[in-house]
Amino acid sequence: MGSMLRMNRLLSSIVESCNCIIDPQLPADDLLMKYQYISDFFIALAYFSIPVELIYFVKKSAVFPYRWVLVQFGAFIVLCGATHLINLWTFNMHTRNVAIVMTTAKVLTALVSCITALLLVHIIPDLLSVKTRELFLKKKAAQLDREMGIIRTQEETGRHVRMLTHEIRSTLDRHTILKTTLVELGKMLALEECALWMPTRTGLELQLSYTLRHQNPVGLTVPIQLPVINQVFGTNRVVQISPNSPVARLRPAGKYMPGEVVAVRVPLLHLSNFQINDWPELSTKRYALMVLMLPSDSARQWHVHELELVEVVADQVAVALSHAAILEESMRARDLLMEQNVALDLARREAEMAVRARNDFLAVMNHEMRTPMHAIIALSSLLQETDLTPEQRLMVETILKSSNLLATLINDVLDLSRLEDGSLQLDIDTFNLPALFREVLSLIKPIASVKKLFVTLSLSSDLPEYVIGDEKRLMQILLNIVGNAVKFSKEGSVSISAFVAKSDSLRDPRAPEFFAVPSENHFYLRVQVKDTGIGINPQDIPNLFSKFTQSQALATTNAGGTGLGLAICKRFVNLMEGHIWVESEGLGKGSTAIFIVKLGIPGCANESKLPFMAKLTANHMQVTFQGLKVLVMDDNGVSRMVTKGLLTHLGCDVTTVGSRDECLRVITQEHKVVFMDVSMAGIDCYEVAVVIHERFGKRHGRPLIVALTGNTDRVTKENCMRVGMDGVILKPVSVDKMRSVLSELLEHGVVLESS
């Protein structure tokens, strides 16, 4: 610096000294100086303004991580600027102060510059890396955007699937399900064609059932055993197939490039697949085939998510179809049941009608058949009592016998039909059992002695004397069985034995259903009728009790009879909760008929019934009714007159009345019997009976009341019994009937039989 100063001094002294002399050389140095001066000025300016700008912009920006660096850098620049500024003063002669300032500035500048340079080594890589990160983030953002786009698409597809599922599951109609599926799939995936192949009934072919484009596809079929089909059916995933396979060739071949085709199986689940124990397995072996085709001539390819969508849809369709199938089945079953119900109802009504018609017919025939029989028998018996020649007598006897037989036959048939439809009811009453057997014996003895058959009766000692049951029918059974025994035996003996059945003898090995339960009030009577007759072929035994059948052997012996006897016996025995069967060792070896019936044991309250025992054992006594005061109430003049005539003929003293009031006015204690026509229209005869009861008190003293009616149905009988009438008899009444009714009334105070 000293040298500089000296130089400068020298120069300036030279210049000063040569001021006057060398003037033209000075402007060259002055120009340079001037330029340097200006440049330094501008540099300084720039140096000062850059930091300002930096500060300004950094202040403006929100984030800048390197403030400290900026400060340093700013300082560096400022000091450089200062240096250059101060340079401006050093061109000319300058004082020592300026030189000091200059030096300080330069030193400072050098310091800051070095520091900055050192720091920049660290900072610049960082700054550079910011840029890199920015680029990276941008790339990532772009990628995320793309992915978001994909997810959105997927979600949208998912929504479509849900919508489709909902639509499919909201209908139970098979066609709607399939149509909706195809349409929605087509829309969702923008398919060109979508088709469904269903297996035919035989299961050997697949038939094109639904397509998207054509509403009613022609019945294209493909055999089910194609390799491509097996491939699709073999997996539950979507399988890409060739557009040329027969299932995919649905559009007429054109010039275009067919789009990609996929196919998936749709399991057709059956009702029987839903076992309770295991879920339906997909090895149901019945699948439909769904084929989906992308538009041709587009570069579209099947994406994974689209395939997944198809799989999901296929599953849903399978479930929806199975529901529809279940519904169809149940509807069909219900329709079938309804049809059957209707048919059953019709059948029942028809049966009822038939039964009614039959009953009507029987009711009419009953009357129709009995009437002529009655006439024949009555007239023939009357004829018998007239004077006849022996031939005539023989003829009349034959007529009588035949007509009696016919009457029995008619009764049998009518009985059986009543038995068949269960309308027959037993007339339960107390009766004397040994007496019944003895009566049967006495009836059969004459015939047996004619055939020289020996008949024995053995009653066990523990048989009760009085039992409760249907006496008439029991007698009928016995007579039938014993009669058969006698009929079919040419010689030998017939033995009848009766005893109380013990538990071991109650069971017949041939009839395991027959289960006898003896109880306190009942016992089982077992009767065996053994004969030494022609026997029965074991093969015929089951048919014995069927109607109208007779074995050959029987027929040839001209046995006669209807063949109904045993059938009727069986019915009666069944009604008595018993069992009947026949045993035989074979033809010519005789046979044994055995039956068991349930009878009641009369309890302590049989004292009141004892008087009734006498009823059947005694014959009807021919009591004269001379002077018996009776009252006849009937609103029909003719009918009244007839009844009066009837009673008068029997010797009664008859008063007739035609109305209820008249009856109540006229009746006195002296009238023993009141005959009341209960078919009087509009008058409550039952009421009259009640009044008579009230007026005359109980029993012995009050008139007995007997109802005359045209019909003997249960209702009428019950009504009569309810109001305390003492009997019901059916019009028309014959003389004999009236006679017996009157004698019963007077003996027992009540008419027990009405017919």
Binding site: L646, K731, V733
Partner: protein, 148 residues
């Protein structure tokens, strides 16, 4: 005399065969005895009177604009009762049919039935009158009646 007897027997049998009379009539005849010699004729005359009255009532009732089926039913019931009491079977049956139509409130049917009943009644009346005439002839000729 025998001829008359035979004729009477045949006539009677024919009546039964044709169901014009049934065994109730026989019963009536049985009731006729010394104390009641004209029982049958009396009853039958009463029947004729009664029936004619009833038939008139029936015709009147059916001619009404508003047919009273209850009354109709009552009358038919009476007629049925009477005819069954003497054994006029066909009349009785016609009455039963009449009743059915009554229950069905079938005026047409009732009219038809009334005609039917009238016919049957007329028939039985004629037949019975003929029978009585024959019987009278028989009795006049000296015959006596065992009940046939």
């Amino acid at each position: 005399m025998e001829q008359l007897q035979r004729k009477l027997a045949e006539y009677t049998t024919s009546l039964y065969n044709e169901n014009i009379l049934d065994e109730q009539f026989i019963q009536l005849q049985q009731l006729q005895d010394e104390s009641n010699p004209d029982f049958v004729v009396e009853v039958v005359s009463l029947f004729f009177e009664d029936s004619e009255r009833l038939l008139n009532e029936l015709a009147k009732a059916l001619n009404q604009a508003n047919v009273d089926f209850k009354k109709l039913n009552a009358h038919v019931h009476q007629m049925k009762g009477s005819s069954s009491s003497i054994g006029a079977q066909r009349v009785q049956r016609a009455c039963i049919a009449f009743r059915n139509y009554c229950d069905d409130h079938n005026v047409e049917g009732c009219l038809k039935c009334l005609q039917q009943v009238k016919n049957e009644y007329t028939l039985v009346k004629n037949k019975l009158e003929a029978l009585f005439k024959l019987e009278k002839q028989f009795v006049d000729a000296g015959g006596s009646f065992p009940i046939v």
